[in-house]
């Protein structure tokens, strides 16, 4: 299929439709409002439901309801709106329900600002809401992946009966690139034996619960579910790590600048490599086994002032290597700055 021009936000919306999603709810917030704008006409066009809620709290709970009924469903938000959805995401994880939520990250804590950021890494990978759960987190680095990861997101959500988050940002959401859109899939809303779709006379009632006290194997079920995700779903892209003296670790928009930095550095004879995180959770620990055993250190490159990925790198390497952070808040990390910082670690 020929490529079309689309923003990252539009690609998210169109890919969801093509993946069979027929229920969306969200609330406008920059820089993800184009997702609502797109779906407000596109969703009715394919016979789906688009609901602009009065706030993120009700949006996430509508998603919870639609997922309970077996629909392919997704919502999107950013920054403060993502915080408001945490309680609902925790409930959805507890209820073993599949859905996708896209967080188009924006700057800062509190109100912050509308520019690109990667400041929600910890919130997205360590739980975010209350209680004992993780969600799978996918991190696209371009418009094509924004579309592809919507499809993958629904597949993983249904494979594990679990919410999947997609971590994009203002830059990827607003930029236009050429994208090859995924094929149309028809989702059968009646395919699950657990979905609550109204009980006909004589049917055994189904329930969606938040905790399964009655099930003797409940703890075991949860342990195994997370263990399977960690074992099977680590995704990453490695670039020239086998002989690297310093390996950059990055994801999303920042990883694009890292690739540029590697090209420049290698021309100068400085051996830089990159592990690009495609899943943020599960963290791709397996990627580190491929790295030059004599690597001098790892440099996390992210749009965060506090360096949120650092600790996961330390854990993945058993704290055996030097780990540092090259972070920025308002501006994208510069290749020249990345190289300078990496050299200082030698």
């Amino acid at each position: 299929m020929a490529k079309v021009l689309m923003t990252g936000n539009e690609a998210v919306g169109e890919a969801a439709i093509r993946a069979g999603c027929r229920f969306y709810s969200g609330y406008p917030i920059t820089p993800q409002t184009e997702i609502l704008q797109y779906l407000s006409w596109r969703m009715p066009e394919v016979g789906g439901k688009f609901v602009q809620a009065e706030a993120e709290l009700s949006a996430v709970n509508m998603l919870y309801g639609a997922a309970s009924a077996g629909a392919r469903t997704f919502g999107s938000t950013s920054g403060p709106g993502f915080s408001l959805m945490q309680e609902g995401i925790s409930y959805i994880a507890a209820a073993d329900l599949p859905l996708v939520i896209v967080n188009v990250m924006r700057e800062g804590s509190g109100l912050g600002n509308i520019g690109a950021s990667q400041g929600d890494y910890l919130q997205m990978t360590k739980g975010g809401g209350h209680g004992d759960y993780h969600t799978i987190v996918l991190a696209p680095a371009n418009v094509q992946e924004s579309a592809d990861m919507m499809v993958l997101g629904f597949d993983l959500a249904e494979k594990y009966l679990h919410p999947v988050l997609i971590a994009t940002d203002a830059a990827i959401g607003q930029m236009v690139e050429g994208v090859e859109l995924p094929d149309f899939i028809t989702h059968d809303i009646d395919k699950f034996d657990w979905a609550v779709r109204g009980c006909k006379k004589g049917d055994k009632p189904r329930t969606i619960q938040n905790i399964y006290f009655m099930d003797d194997n409940y703890e075991q079920h949860l342990r195994e579910k997370y263990a399977r995700m960690v074992e099977n779903e680590q995704r990453w892209e490695s670039i020239e790590v086998e002989d690297a003296d310093i390996v950059l670790v990055s994801y999303g928009i920042s990883s694009r600048l890292c690739k540029e930095a590697i090209k420049i550095a290698r021309k100068e004879g400085f051996k830089l490599g990159l592990i690009r995180l495609i899943t943020l959770w599960p963290f791709p620990e397996k990627a580190f086994a491929e790295v030059n055993p004599d690597v001098k250190g790892y440099l996390s490159v992210e749009m965060s002032t506090i360096g949120q990925v650092k600790d996961d790198i330390r854990l993945a390497t058993g704290c055996t290597k030097l780990v540092d952070n090259y972070g920025s808040m308002m501006e994208l990390p510069e290749p020249e700055g990345i190289i300078e910082k990496a050299k200082s670690m030698l």
Binding site: L5, Q174, V176, E177, I253, R256, L257, K259
Partner: protein
């Protein structure tokens, strides 16, 4: 050229963002990597707007253009803001209907075309940007004029907004530099 970085700027309503999209689309359809990024803030009719376009044979890193190979400036404010950001040896295309004669940097190539006047004369007042695209094709190595001309038509056709006068505007933009 392996990599071309472009800034299009002008009044909101002059079709500045569409101009960038047309360039991106034409490059994409000739199998280049492309990236288009809008100026980000409060844009409206009468305000200033701009977009960045990157065209490359390879994967594109940052969406932002710092120094441009080509700047398309449709109004005075855009010339003032973006002339300093043209690379030495780069190209500045100016809509001279809205930009008063002035002295430009001598280490860049400047092409002035009265795009708004030409578009008005051809009965297509919103086609000034298409005149400028004619000037772009004529004066740079980016696209063959015939290729860009058909690409513009297919761009608007796909959006259900084809206008036969666009081709006239484009031709005039090319011919102005004969």
């Amino acid at each position: 050229m392996a990599k071309t970085e472009i800034i299009c700027a002008g009044f909101g309503g002059q079709g500045v963002l569409v101009t960038g999209l047309i360039i991106a689309n034409a490059a994409m359809e000739s199998d280049k990597e492309i990236l288009w990024y809008p100026s980000y803030g409060v844009e409206m009719r009468g305000g200033t707007a701009n977009c960045n376009v990157k065209i490359s044979d390879e994967e594109i890193a940052s969406p932002f253009v710092k120094e441009a190979d080509i700047v398309i400036a449709l109004n005075e404010a855009s010339v003032m803001k973006f002339e300093p950001r043209v690379k030495a040896g780069g190209t500045l295309i100016v809509n001279s209907s809205t930009v008063k004669p002035r002295k430009y940097r001598d280490n860049i190539k400047v092409y002035e075309v009265p795009a708004t006047d030409i578009a008005n004369k051809l009965g297509n007042p919103r086609g000034a940007n298409v005149v400028v695209l004619g000037a772009l094709a004529r004066n740079t190595d980016l696209f063959e004029p015939a290729y860009l001309k058909q690409s513009i038509d297919s761009f608007f056709e796909k959006r259900g907004r084809d206008n036969p006068k666009n081709a006239l505007c484009f031709d005039e933009g090319v011919k102005y530099f004969d």
